[in-house]
């Protein structure tokens, strides 16, 4: 099998929660050796986000969300706040290509791990930071998580039902989109290093990255000064364009009609061919004007069908239609199954499940889940003995001094 694209790179991952770890998951999927550095008193809060009762043995290794976001990675412990921990971390930096962190400012500086210090350990090291607001500016110390990012970034204000107020997205949207940007930042910085021999510092301000995902609204406002309003499921030029009820509990189908031809096909499939010539709907402008009425007609038809029936009938006629898939339906979806999207992963403490595979499908080096998420401190031996060459005695001293450990302190995330 071909080597994975990032097989030769080592990344020290100080990020926690979802944004940074989603980014390093993408890089780990691509073959990078991602080593999560945790500590007994500083461990990933996702390990604690679990419904498993706290008195269950090794509960921190059993969090579904942690195990999901951290597959293909390694984990070790090092207390960076202790001089010996910091020193060993810098020795690891000398053996690595990238450090990525999501600490609040100015934690890295307080730990004595500013970019200049990292460079003294390895001259061409790349440092990527993923602050919410950025590392400069009057609000650099403000705190924000995923849903805050979409609010700050302008997405929430333009999301919502027609005529209604702003609406939160269904996921912690700012997190994964920041993670993708961070993964791209790592790849570009590695490109730059290949070409110039130089490392660099990259700041991924999550707020700014988010604004980029609604950029046309900024340019549009700049042109005409009109504040965009939530449009529900409608589009600026297509109609019908919406989400329609189907038979069954909470079953929906989405339909988007682009032109006259597609509209005629929709009418034919609905058994209402005369509507295509009806003056209320005959052209794009009339359909757009009369879409409330049109939505009612489409809904009458969808209500008597399942999302699957409506989708298949419309797709046969060349109309964009799709069911609204919840997670259980995604797991059963025949397309994702046929493409081998779901992969099985086994974890020593947490069991065996099917989870989503790798979204970047490369023809020559197809990537898969190679490793389950690391147990807390699982790779202390690999990192301390294997990479740093410490003796058994030294490792025991580190454990005695609390620089490393194999059980996280539960009171950190209560």
């Amino acid at each position: 099998m071909e080597r994975l694209p990032l097989y030769s790179y080592r990344i020290l991952d100080l990020t926690t929660a979802w944004a940074g770890p989603y980014g390093t998951r993408l890089l780990a999927d691509m073959g990078a050796e991602v080593i999560k550095v945790e500590a007994v008193n500083h461990w990933d809060l996702l390990r604690a986000l679990t419904d498993t009762p706290p008195d269950v043995e090794l509960v921190w290794n059993k969090s579904p969300i942690f195990n999901h976001v951290n597959r293909n990675k390694y984990a070790c412990t090092l207390d960076l706040g202790q001089p010996r921990g910091r020193e060993l971390f810098l020795r690891l930096v000398a053996l690595s290509d990238v450090v990525i962190e999501s600490y609040r400012s100015p934690v890295m500086e307080n730990l004595g791990l500013s970019y200049d210090v990292l460079r003294s350990a390895r001259a061409d090291i790349i440092l990527v930071s993923t602050p919410s607001h950025g590392k400069t500016g009057p609000e650099k110390d403000f705190v924000a998580y995923g849903s805050n990012i979409e609010q700050l970034g302008g997405l929430t204000a333009i999301s919502g039902y027609l005529g209604g107020g702003p609406q939160k997205t269904g996921i912690s949207y700012g997190d994964p989109v920041s993670g993708i940007a961070a993964a791209a930042a790592v790849a570009l910085a590695l490109w730059h290093r290949r070409r110039t021999g130089e490392g660099q510092y990259v700041e991924v301000a999550q707020w700014e990255n988010m604004v980029g995902l609604i950029g046309e609204y900024v340019v549009g406002y700049s042109m005409n000064g009109r504040l965009p309003q939530p449009m529900g499921n409608r589009h600026s030029s297509m109609a019908p364009h919406g989400c329609y009820p189907c038979c069954g509990d909470d079953q929906w189908v989405t339909i988007a009609v682009e032109d006259d031809e597609q509209f005629a096909a929709l009418c034919r499939i609905m058994g209402r061919p005369e509507l295509a010539a009806d003056p209320r709907f005959a052209d794009v402008v009339s359909r757009y004007r009369n879409q409330d009425e049109l939505d009612g007609i489409v809904a009458e038809w969808t209500r008597q069908r399942t999302p699957k029936q409506a989708t298949e009938a419309l797709q046969t006629a060349g109309v964009a239609a799709a069911p609204v898939l919840g997670v259980p339906a995604l797991f059963d979806d025949r397309h994702l199954r046929a493409r081998g999207f779901w992969e099985t992963v086994s974890h020593a403490d947490a069991g065996t499940w099917d989870v989503d595979g790798v979204p970047w499908r490369m023809s020559r080096s197809p990537a898969h889940i190679r490793l389950p998420a690391p147990r807390f401190a699982e790779h202390n031996g690999y990192v301390l003995r294997g990479l740093l060459g410490l003796s058994e005695e030294e490792i025991q001293e580190l454990a005695a001094a609390g620089v490393i450990g194999d059980r996280p302190n539960p009171s950190v995330h209560e």
Binding site: A184, W191, V219, D356
Partner: protein, 396 residues
């Protein structure tokens, strides 16, 4: 010029996702040559808003935003002559980005296998709603339907109403951002191995990998927690109306003391009902009513500044105007003014991230076919007369 200038990209795509992917490559310095259809050009040129609401193919906000720092040539690759010219262009690039229906380029003799014979280190990124194979590969799609299929729509909106898409083209932006990162990774690898590959990006799959915690809960516990929950997820995570807008709170367990201070309720820290995360969830209704009542007395900007100073995770819903006025973004010089011969000077968002050594290229979008002479004559060595011949035959 940045080190990425050595990366040359041909962009055949005609949707938001592909355009966003190559906008980001161009922004960090890659030379992106956008190939548009002779005549109308990129369909994105038809989308508004436009200055004074007058449609014009050089003035649409969506096109202008998504095509900054690119070059534009026109070429009809469906004609044999056009396909041959395209093959010559491929010799000089590292990356091709495309978004056609699966199989279309292969029909024209321009599929990945065929192009890789011309240029072994070529990375070709195909961005489609459902991917290059599988039962839905030929399905028609739009941003709305891709959003529905990727699982994010089912969890967005109010529980008693229809599922809701996010504002704008979020399914396409997510796929475009994924494609950008994947292309950068594959180009990096090809730079050392001298062998490229074909990347298949399916929006549906990209979206489905971003469904925490719904996927993990179902995968590991067979528990479906993907019910729509509207704007209030819990007493300390959600959107709360305030006097002049909406405040957003996203409190993790460690932020509780800071949030209680921001609410002006330090007394809650000593309240047994709220002593840890578990107990706060047990008393969620009481907490929610406290937060809700507090928010209604607040003005958004003042509350945000005060909470920020206390390091409580409180934000407010920013309109586009709020964004342009935001002190933090202004201090950081995030927004940029970019002039354009047809559309004039407008305000654009800056870079998604800031690599110290790879400054963002804030250059305007190209006019349709603006770089025909540069690419066809200077680079491929055609004479002006030959270019005129191609124009006359509708190839260019």
């Amino acid at each position: 010029m940045t080190s990425l200038s050595a990366l040359r990209v041909l962009d055949l795509s005609d949707g938001v996702a592909g355009a966003f992917c190559t906008k980001l490559l161009a922004g960090f310095g890659a030379e992106v040559i956008k190939i548009e259809r002779p005549g109308a050009g990129d369909p994105l040129r038809r989308h508004g808003p436009f200055p004074d609401d007058l449609p014009h193919r050089e003035k649409g906000a969506l096109f202008l935003y998504l095509n900054t720092a690119k070059k534009s040539i026109t070429l009809d690759i469906a004609q044999r002559t056009g396909a041959l010219i395209f093959r010559r262009l491929v010799e000089g690039v590292e990356v091709v980005v495309e978004s056609f229906s699966p199989g279309y380029l292969a029909e024209l003799g321009l599929g990945y296998e065929s192009l890789a014979r011309i240029k072994p280190r070529l990375v070709m990124t195909s961005i489609t709603p459902f991917g290059q194979d599988g039962p839905y590969a030929g399905y028609k799609a739009a941003n709305l339907t891709a959003f529905a299929m990727g699982g994010q729509m089912a969890v967005t909106g109010e529980p008693d109403r229809e599922p809701l898409k996010n504002g704008g083209y979020q399914a396409e932006y997510q796929a475009g951002l994924h494609a950008f990162a994947a292309t950068a990774v594959a180009a990096l690898s090809a730079d050392s191995t001298e062998v490229g590959q074909h990347i298949d990006i399916a929006a549906m799959e990209c979206l489905a990998t971003m469904l925490e915690p719904y996927v993990s809960s179902w995968a590991y516990l067979k528990r479906d927690i993907g019910q729509r929950r509207g704007n209030v997820v819990s007493g300390t995570v959600g959107l709360y109306p305030c006097r002049d807008g909406h405040l957003g709170i996203h409190c993790m367990p460690r932020n509780w003391p800071a949030l209680a201070r921001a609410l002006g309720r330090e007394d809650l820290l000593a309240d047994e009902r709220f002593r840890d995360h578990y107990h706060r969830l047990q008393h969620n209704d009481e907490l929610e009513s406290i937060v809700y009542a507090w928010a209604t007395t607040q003005e958004r900007k003042a509350a945000y500044q005060r909470a920020g100073g206390l390091r409580a995770p409180v934000s407010f819903v920013h309109t586009v105007q709020d964004l342009l006025e935001a002190p933090q973004l202004r201090a950081r010089g995030f927004f940029q003014q970019i002039g354009h011969p047809a559309a004039g000077r407008q305000t654009y968002p800056g870079p998604p991230f800031r690599p110290e050594a790879m400054p963002w290229q804030a250059a305007r979008a190209p006019l349709l076919g603006e770089h025909n002479e540069e690419i066809y004559c200077e680079e491929l060595g055609l004479s002006r007369q030959e270019l005129a011949l191609l124009r006359a035959s509708g190839v260019v």
